[in-house]
Assembly symmetry: C2
Homo-oligomer: 227 residues x 2
């Protein structure tokens, strides 16, 4: 593949320059938001000319896609490290909470990935594939609950879809400032339990929680598994 030592070195050099550019872009995105991501600014941070970004990424869209992929990699890393649990439903709940926590911890990445923060950028096939792979983590979590018999009533993809819709909406509105953090968290928990409740194999838990909101009775150890 690498014809000569020179080509090899050049390729490696491009690799490290590309990494440096991406690192600068990531830092700018995290510290100053998408607005700071200009070609000149990034080139200035890394100490090269703007041309380099065009040869390495093919323009701002290429760099946007690289950041999109980086965001999904971070997202996936966060979701994967949710610890396993014999209680599949508890693990799914932990994953749902991890979804929000990631989005709130790196909202600018979330904006890039899901809110079109880079104007004019549309993800290509590879990027959509990465998104789909991340989403499959959710489908798998639901499927395990179906197999374990704690969820029922719909296909894993269906339940995962509605969960994703709900979580994305909650997180998206919260990032956009429609909810402050203190009221957003209980709303998010209520949303997650609400969406899952119709699919619970034994609906007593959710029923108990709902009733408890009115009667304040019958708390049991099952409560701690609620969300």
């Amino acid at each position: 593949m690498a014809g000569s030592a020179y080509q090899q070195a050049q390729r490696e050099g491009q690799g490290v320059v590309r990494a440096a550019v991406l690192e600068a872009a990531k830092r700018l995105l995290a510290t100053e938001g998408p607005g700071a991501l200009t070609v000149r600014r990034i080139a200035g941070e890394v100490g090269c000319s703007t041309k380099v970004i065009y040869t390495l990424f093919g323009g701002k869209d290429g760099l946007s896609e690289a950041l999109w992929l980086e965001g999904f990699a971070r997202f996936e890393r966060r979701l994967v490290e949710v610890p396993p649990d014999d209680d599949k439903l508890a693990r799914l709940h932990a994953g749902l909470l991890a979804y929000r926590e990631y989005a709130l911890s790196e909202p600018d990445y979330y904006r890039v990935m899901f809110q079109g923060a880079m104007p004019g950028f549309r993800p290509g096939p590879e990027a959509l594939l990465a998104a789909k792979r991340t989403f499959d983590l959710l489908v798998r979590g639901v499927a395990e609950c179906l197999e374990a018999g704690v969820l029922r009533g719909a296909e894993a993809a269906e339940i995962a879809d509605v969960l994703w819709m709900a979580m994305h909406g909650a997180v998206s509105l919260e990032i956009s400032g429609y909810f402050d953090r203190v009221e957003a968290e209980p709303r998010y928990r209520l949303l997650c339990t609400s969406v899952l409740t119709p699919f619970l194999a034994s609906r007593q838990m959710a029923s108990r929680q709902m009733d408890a909101r009115e009667t304040d009775t019958r708390e049991t150890d099952a409560d701690e598994r609620e969300v």
Copy 2:
């Protein structure tokens, strides 16, 4: 207020010019999307200089806010015209469907309102108030269900919040292209019923629906009220 005939005429003239500018901006937004909304383009369409837009709207942000308000006015109009129904739950469901239908019928307005399609624009206090007023329609619909006794278990604002989160997430993902229209609609219906089910006073309807997905039995006239 209007000192002289000249001032009066000038004021009225500004009013019609402002309306014309807004009309051009609305047409551009609807036909070519937010990307076509440049100050020069709008000025060219209406046949004036860019300066006019600055004196009438105070810059692009002012025009963005005007479009935001226009979007919420259209949204509210659509939601208000959901016909009343003695079955409060059916009316609420109709409202939830109207939410999606509006968003899909004017996705660029929805992007302006909820997805930050105008870069750098943050809604001011008046704009947020308009948003809140529109959202109150949903709260009121939920409150009527609570008063009628068909929903229970949480405050109207809580249920409305989770409904809003869910609907916004579904619509937002659909607009962004994560679902095609044919698969999005049943998902949306499933999402709406799922979110509402835990709050149903009599949960037999939802239970029956869920069970029916597995057994394909026991259809009743209650089915037509599902979503």
